[in-house]
């Protein structure tokens, strides 16, 4: 079992080490993830219902739907 897990681990490690043009793509993915989760999610996309309990959410949405 342990040797099988090691083989899988080595498969990924060697694969990443042998990458040529793929490194550029990984950098791109990392850059995008940072922009998405740190910049956008952190500063601009706070869920409207965040910090509310289940009851408060029901109350809030109920009011939103009946008072429009």
């Amino acid at each position: 079992m342990k040797s099988r897990l090691m083989a899988i681990w080595n498969f990924y490690v060697e694969g990443f080490r042998a990458m040529t043009w793929g490194r550029q793509l990984w950098l791109l993915i990392l850059l995008k993830v940072v922009i998405l989760f740190v910049l956008l999610r952190g500063f601009f996309f706070r869920p409207t219902l965040a910090g509310k309990s289940e009851e408060q959410r029901i109350e809030y949405i109920g009011n939103q739907l009946t008072k429009r």
């Binding site: 498969f11 990924y12 060697e14 694969g15 990443f16 042998a18 043009w21 793929g22 550029q24 793509l25 990984w26 791109l28 993915i29 995008k32 993830v33 922009i35 998405l36 956008l40 999610r41 601009f44 996309f45 706070r46 869920p47 409207t48 219902l49 965040a50 959410r57 029901i58 949405i61 109920g62 939103q64 739907l65 009946t66 429009r68």
Partner: protein, 495 residues
């Protein structure tokens, strides 16, 4: 009352992100099938040429995948921030199933993607081939639930509204999964991806032929891509036919808008362009019956009775029942703790009128008509461009088989310049589906103006322009990397 500007900017923002996401998804779906087919030929014949051909298209697949990955996450952010009323109201359909699917598809893709790229010399040929096919299947699977959710919004089945939680709850899982709209939407979307992949491969291969480079690689790629593309396009046509029948049945206003049909009836005509019609063709397409009744915009607004005697309420009657439902919902919430008997009456009134709940937010019946000109032309762009691309693939395949394609330079130019057209057709299809169902987020249950969160318009405008900047940047980066990889080429003939 929410501001119109807030609704419009929120819609624009969502349309931008969804449209951007759909630039990458279809190419992933289509290229996966094409490169898996090429690798299957390699495994069957043992010819190293096919291995190199597969590897080149795999590289293009990876570039597209890397830039497209996680673009769908932005839509999730928007659900929580800009569409919180909607996200809560839909209940079970989003959330857990979407998360499970995402995790399943992620692990499936992460595992087989790694084998596909790292495993050429490390696993057996057959195992590698299985990994390539499973990467493609994983990509298609990751589209299943989001399309089921989208189909539910077009034709809400299998769920019931619970006024205590203000959410919809699943009551019939299989009705939801096998919602007819979901089935045709899934196949229509996935096979349109095959078309996209095929036209992309044919276009790039044509460029190599124009440059008189990689001739065998280009012609072989064109052959495989054209076959996949023709099969995909035929499947798109069949699933599109089902979509038309479903639109007639569940969203007649969308169909009437797509046709610009003001007054309908039996033997309804299909509009080729404004002023040019094929008699009875719309009835055939929408009902598979030359005498089939297709209501027009005015019929739907004024109410109509189909030849089999089924009466459809007018817009005013639906709006009235919607207001009754909304008032009953408000009364139920107010009375449920203080006066259970009165609350039970309100609940019953709500249940009897829930089908028209969303109409309670509609101020005038004109609001129920989607932007006709946009939907009409988007439909025609989708269909005519799709028809042109099918013809192109048939002609290209025919000439390739007769060894005449590489000398038809004008046709190679046409094929190369058709790459943007397939994207145009895909985007136009989504415009028909999504603009055509306006004003609804959930058909009959929730209009966009009730679904949008009470957030500042300025914040939505800021994020919209931020997205424009970020998306443009990533698109430029992707195109540069892709063009570089294409210019470099597979270098098969120099090996």
């Amino acid at each position: 009352m929410v501001e119109t500007a807030l609704v419009d900017w929120s819609r624009l923002q969502f349309a931008l992100t969804a449209g951007y996401h759909w630039l990458f998804v279809p190419l992933t779906l289509g290229l996966a099938v094409i490169m898996a087919t090429m690798e299957s030929i390699y495994v069957a014949t043992g010819d190293e040429f096919w291995k190199r051909t597969t590897k080149f298209w795999m590289k293009i697949f990876a570039i597209n995948f890397a830039v497209g990955i996680a673009t769908g996450i932005i839509l999730e952010f928007e659900f929580g921030t800009n569409w919180s009323n909607y996200s809560w109201f839909v209940g079970d359909i989003f959330g857990a199933p979407l998360a499970i699917e995402g995790i399943f598809a992620f692990f499936m893709e992460a595992t087989f993607f790694a084998v596909m790229f790292f495993g050429w010399e490390k696993v057996s040929k057959r195992f590698h081939l299985a990994a390539t096919w499973l990467t493609g299947i994983g990509a298609a699977i990751s589209a299943v639930w989001i399309l089921i959710a989208n189909a539910w919004m077009q034709n809400p089945v299998g769920m019931e509204f619970n006024p205590d939680t203000v959410r919809h709850e699943m009551v019939d899982f299989w009705a939801l999964v096998f919602n007819p709209v979901a089935v045709s939407k899934f196949f229509h979307s996935v096979f349109s991806g095959w078309m996209t992949g095929a036209i992309f491969v044919i276009g790039i291969s044509s460029w190599y032929l124009l440059k008189r480079r990689e001739t065998r690689f280009a012609l072989s790629s064109i052959r495989v891509a054209a076959i996949v593309g023709i099969v995909g396009t035929l499947a798109v046509m069949f699933s599109g036919d089902s979509s038309g029948v479903h639109a007639a049945k569940y969203q007649p206003m969308k169909l009437a808008a797509a046709e610009g049909l003001e007054e309908g009836g039996p033997r309804a005509p299909f509009s080729i362009v404004p002023g040019v019609e094929i008699p009875a063709m719309l009835s055939i397409l929408a009902t598979h019956d030359v005498d089939g009744y297709v209501p027009g915009i005015n019929n739907i607004l004024d109410g109509y009775t189909t030849p089999d005697g089924e009466r459809h309420l007018s817009a005013d009657e639906k709006i009235e029942r919607g207001r009754i439902a909304l008032e009953a919902f408000a009364s139920y919430r107010e009375l449920k703790d203080s006066d259970p008997e009165a609350a039970a009456v309100a609940r019953q009134t709500l249940d009897e009128n829930i089908e028209y709940f969303g109409y309670g937010y509609i101020d005038s019946k004109e609001e129920l008509v989607p932007p006709v000109t946009l939907v009409y032309w988007a439909f025609r762009v989708m269909v005519y461009v799709g028809g042109f691309l099918l013809m192109l693939m048939v002609v290209v395949l025919w000439l390739e088989r007769r060894n005449r394609l590489k000398d038809m330079r004008w046709l190679l130019w046409v094929a190369m310049l058709s790459i943007p057209l397939v994207y145009l057709a895909g985007q136009a299809g989504w415009i028909v589906a999504e603009v055509g169902r306006q004003p609804w987020v959930i058909d009959g249950l929730l209009p966009v103006k009730a679904a949008v969160s009470s957030v500042s318009v300025a914040v939505v405008q800021t994020t919209f322009w931020l997205f424009v900047a970020i998306f443009t940047l990533f698109l430029v980066i992707e195109m540069r990397i892709m063009i570089k990889a294409i210019k470099q080429g597979p270098n098969i003939e120099t090996k």
